[in-house]
């Protein structure tokens, strides 16, 4: 049985919702009642059935709507997708990876047929059926990275590895948590992370870089990251901050449950075979507070995490303006009882 894709929006009337199954499988990012940065990287292996890790490249009920939102962002601002000239081969690597993974996991929706370099890609949810020559950019309507990432959920950064560092040299970034590909493209790992507070001093990035530069083909890794977003808006880019920033001033005790969303990024890291680059998909999951607190354990734990978050992190994540309102709302759902260890609901 295939996925039933929702008709919904991530802007204007914000009709995005999670179905009950998607609420249960939400990748809640806190394994304990507090949060601080850590190098929380683990092997990206298949997880339990019914979880977002059931397949290594996850396609869900929001797929079609997310791809429509991406097309709108790109029409407005083509600089969200850029690839430096030496990154085309890595783009082909990524196209292969995403076609293979999506066709393998969701054969009812995607089909990849290969005859040497002559490939045929069928994407039924988006109504695409294209034949092309692998490695020949003139046979696709876009460059290989742009072509496949217009058909894959999540942002994608392709990192070139040289001089013992990783360089942000290509990407499709339309659902970012407030960072600009256009500004950061061409930077190395430390430079593009420069604005992150506290983590440099803790040596997080030195250790993370060491780990990432050693990733081997066929052995991807992953980590979770999180922030919060007002309204289920995918495009929270700095480019449009002056348009979505005012949303943060609209949170009231009455609308917290509907407006405030936990935004979780499932980041994975894959070595690409021909280019030796690393691709870094950033898959974004949104859930509104009303949906999240249907799991009492998550409600209690989120209350404690947000309440006790260090001030620098709250500022960096942009929570300052509505944090007190949110904590007050969540506190009513926290009876002080213990939470079980681990991420999952009780």
């Amino acid at each position: 049985m295939g996925i039933t894709f929702r008709k919904e929006t991530f802007r204007d009337d914000f009709t995005f919702r999670n179905s009950p199954e998607h609420i249960r499988r939400f990748p809640f990012p806190f394994h304990e009642d507090s949060y601080m940065y850590a190098v929380n990287i683990e092997p990206h292996v298949v997880g339990p059935k019914g979880s977002v890790l059931q397949n290594l490249i996850d396609v869900d009920e929001h797929y079609v709507a997310e791809m429509q939102d991406r097309a709108l962002v790109l029409a407005e601002d083509p600089l969200r997708c850029q690839s430096l000239p030496h990154m085309t081969l890595a783009g082909w690597d990524l196209l292969e990876l995403l076609m293979e993974q999506q066709a393998l996991a969701y054969p009812e929706h995607f089909t990849l047929a290969r005859d040497g370099d002559r490939w045929r890609w069928i994407n039924r949810p988006l109504g695409i059926d294209d034949s092309f020559t692998f490695g020949d950019v003139s046979t696709l309507p876009y460059g290989p990275m742009e072509y496949i990432t217009r058909q894959s959920q999540g942002d994608f950064c392709i990192l070139d590895q040289r001089d013992g560092n990783l360089w942000m040299d290509a990407g499709m970034v339309t659902t970012q948590a407030d960072w600009s590909l256009d500004f950061d493209i061409g930077m190395n790992f430390f430079e593009w992370h420069a604005p992150v507070p506290l983590a440099h001093e803790k040596g997080i990035f030195v250790r993370a870089l060491k780990f990432l530069t050693n990733i081997q083909q066929g052995k991807p890794a992953r980590r979770l990251n999180w922030t919060m977003t007002i309204n289920p808006r995918l495009d929270t880019s700095p480019e449009n901050y002056h348009k979505w920033g005012p949303d943060r001033a609209t949170v009231t005790p009455e609308n917290v449950g509907d407006k405030v969303h936990l935004r979780v990024e499932l980041q994975s890291f894959w070595r690409l075979p021909r280019s030796n680059a690393i691709v870094f998909p950033i898959r974004c999951y949104l859930i509104k507070m009303d949906e999240l607190v249907m799991q009492p354990k998550w409600a209690r734990r989120l209350h404690r995490v947000i309440r006790d978050l260090p001030e620098e992190l709250a500022t960096y994540k942009g929570l300052t303006r509505y944090r007190a309102t949110l904590v007050e709302w969540l506190s009513k759902l926290d009876d002080g009882s213990a939470t079980s260890p681990g991420f999952g609901p009780d």
Binding site: L79, S180, D182, F183, D184, I185, G186, M187, F190, E191, W192, H193, A194, P195, H200, P238, E239, N240, Y241, H242, G245, P246, R248, A249, R321
Partner: protein
């Protein structure tokens, strides 16, 4: 110099004579004095293989200091933009082993480095020394326009008019600091403007 900074913010050093036969200097205003200081430490025939591109700026000082070094080539530019075609040609025709020295304002160093990067020169091989004004070249993250010579915090984008926080986050590719709307969440909040990058 800013006391507390972040990793993407460029770090500048002190010019020193490098081994080699060909030396290209690009400087503006007080940057000339960094070249003069280097000359005091350089071997006798050093400037016989040197090309100096100098943009004196408004005060029109220091050109004589550089001419006195008797470089093989000396060019006086009215602005960085007017010097750029010459710089690009020089970089394109450069022999392997050309040494590059940049001195003066951050805007000058950044834009000259941008041209050098486009010519395939590794940024770590370039000598830089900051002298003079702390004025910043800023890119508005919203409209992408560049505002030159920003001295205040916050600063108004000269293209779209938004009031921007001038961050320390810096892009070598764009040769610019990032400006992000400072009152995006509530446009009625107008923080005081201070002159901090003089």
């Amino acid at each position: 110099m800013a006391a507390k900074s972040i990793i993407s913010r460029p770090v500048y050093g002190t010019l020193s004579p490098q081994p080699g036969k060909h030396h290209l200097f690009i400087a503006d205003a007080e940057g000339a004095l960094a070249i003069a200081d280097l000359a005091a430490k350089a071997p006798a025939d050093f400037f016989g293989g040197a090309h100096i591109i100098f943009i004196p700026g408004r005060d029109s000082k220091y050109a004589d200091v550089l001419e006195a070094l008797k470089p093989a080539q000396f060019y006086l530019g009215h602005s960085f933009a007017s010097a750029l075609p010459r710089l690009k040609q020089t970089l394109a025709n450069a022999h392997m082993g050309l040494r590059l020295y940049l001195a003066g304002t951050e805007g000058l160093i950044g834009q000259a480095m941008q041209a050098a990067l486009e010519a395939g020169i590794d940024h770590t091989s370039i000598q830089t020394e900051h002298r003079g004004s702390l004025a910043r070249r800023m890119q508005c993250v919203h409209c992408k326009g560049i505002t030159e010579n920003v001295t205040t915090q916050p600063a108004t984008c000269s293209h779209c008019g938004l009031l921007l926080l001038v961050r320390d986050h810096y892009s070598r590719r764009l040769a610019a600091f990032q400006g992000v709307c400072i009152n995006a969440e509530d446009r009625s909040e107008i923080p005081p403007t201070e002159e901090v990058f003089r």
